[in-house]
Every structure is written in C-alpha cells, then in structure tokens.
Symmetry: C2
Amino acid sequence: MTRSEYNKQVELALKYYKKAGIVLTEDEKKNIEVADFGKGLVNELGLQLLVYVNTERVCAKEMVLLPHQTCPEHMHVPTNGAAGKEETFRCRYGEVYLYVAGEKNCEEIKAKMPPSDVSVFHEIVLRPGEQYTLSPETWHWFQAGPSGAVISEFSTRSTDETDVFTDKTLIRAPIIEEE
Amino acid sequence: MTRSEYNKQVELALKYYKKAGIVLTEDEKKNIEVADFGKGLVNELGLQLLVYVNTERVCAKEMVLLPHQTCPEHMHVPTNGAAGKEETFRCRYGEVYLYVAGEKNCEEIKAKMPPSDVSVFHEIVLRPGEQYTLSPETWHWFQAGPSGAVISEFSTRSTDETDVFTDKTLIRAPIIEEE
C-alpha cells in the first residue's frame, strides 16, 4: 500500500466515524491503522481501525469497513501463556455480515465472496445496537453490507501478530511504501 | 428508589444516549440500570448504565451521568483470586470531571462537592473523544459537567459487589420499591 492509498483509506474512515457519531481527538485521527493484509486489494480485503486502548488485560477498538470490504478469516490462538483473544463486536453503523464456525444457516450468504480463502459460513447479521461475542480459537470473518459499517470491538489484549489466517498468503502487518 | 423514580431516570438516560448518537436495541433499553447508592438522592449521587457485555475476562458499559450527578468515590479490589478491575473511561458526550488518587492539581475543583465522602482530588477533565485508564485499587470518583455526560467504559470483568466505597453508608446494589 502506498502512502497516498493509506491516506485515502484514512479519509474514508473518518467520514464513517462521523456518520456513526463517534468523536475522535486530533491525535487519534493521526493514529488510524489501515490493514490490507498484503493483497493490494484494500477496498475488498482490508480494514480501517483505531485502537482506543490495549493493555495487558483489555483492548477496545473502533473499526470501519467500507461497503462489502472484508476482514479475512482468522482465529485468535493462545499467546504468551494467555488464552486466545475473546472479542465482542458491536455494530454502531451500517450492517455487518459475520461468519463463524458452525452449521451453515442460510441458503445463500449475504456477503460477496471475498478475494481470500474462507471456510466458515454460519451467518450472523449485526445492525446498529446488535453485538456478538466470539470465544477464542473460533474461525471468523466479516464483511460490511452495502452502506459500510462501523464496529466497536471490546476484547482481551490484542495480539494481532499471532493471528492465524485461513489464507496463508495473507499478512497482518501493513507495509506502507513511501512515494 | 421507587419504580417511578427508576423509570424517570431511564427515560432521562435514553435522551442522553440519543444525544451521543448511541443506538440501543429495544431489549437493551429495558435493561438500563440505575444506581442510587442507597442515599435516595439519585440526581446528585447516582449513575445510569447499560452493560453491553460482562464475561470472565472483559466488560463494556455505556454510562450516563446527569448534570453534576456524581458516581461516588470507590476502588476495585482483587476479587475471586483475580486482580482488581482495570477500567478505561472514554467520554462520548458532555464533560466529565474525574478525580483520582494523586497530588491535587488545581486550586478549586470543577465538580460540585457531592453528598458523600470523597478524599482524592487529582482532577482529570474528559471531553468527547478523551479517555483515561485507571489501574486497579485506585480511589476515584467522577461527576458530569453542566450538560451531563455519556461515558463508555472498557474494563476487565465487573464485580460491582466487591467495590469498596470511601463513604461506608453507601450501598451499590439498588433497591427498587414497587408502588
């Protein structure tokens, strides 16, 4: 991802936070992360997020997904002797299609198939005010509906560096190329 | 607190959530808690809150304070073998005057003196988008400014029943009298 691509995603994310009524400080606006998972298809496979807090025990984030943008399938495994990350997703704006391990519960999923491997299709649809708590070591992926989405995440400590992806070609840490 | 007093506080809280742009489900609106700390002065000493999630590891809440309403001084002690609760307060709407243990850092505090004992006066003012993380076993109390406040709390498991209050006449669990 180039610096200008990164900046563009941040600008888009800021519009979504505003639509969701979420107020950020000027410093926070400079600390928005953009993950493209190394695929170079950030609008299809990517995520914009702001980490509010990430201590040894607790993490809270505010995530933005653009219309039909997907956070690829992954799970959170035990890290540094602690159980894997437990997380609750709460939809603040838009619509989220969340897929978790378990029986397929729909004929056709609402999400568009993403440009990365997925294997779980138990669908949970989250609209504003709705939330879902995921146990550690549960495969999951999620995609915004046609209006994009803003999602709060409440969790134990985030250790993104140990996330396991179904699609082994993906990488979590974004690489930003200066132009 | 009587049932009609409780209902009145819930109605007020719902107005503040709306001002803050926070969307709740109909079920959540029925689960708003009102704490009056047993003093019968809920508009001065009280708190309205909705617990989004409270697992063994993580808790998230959305709190409402009416103008100059105070959450009394308390601390979170080790409970059931786990370290005391660690919490981050994030202001979403209004202004919060938070007082924690530490040197007094102002001539006059912004808060009005509450109708319960307080002993710490290190002042932190939080405006929308601003937040503060409290370590366990830290005395703290907080009050909304003149416009009231909405505050998100991200924390480890909430165990309100073991909170220790500076004012020993207070009780955490509200008693609602049916009329």
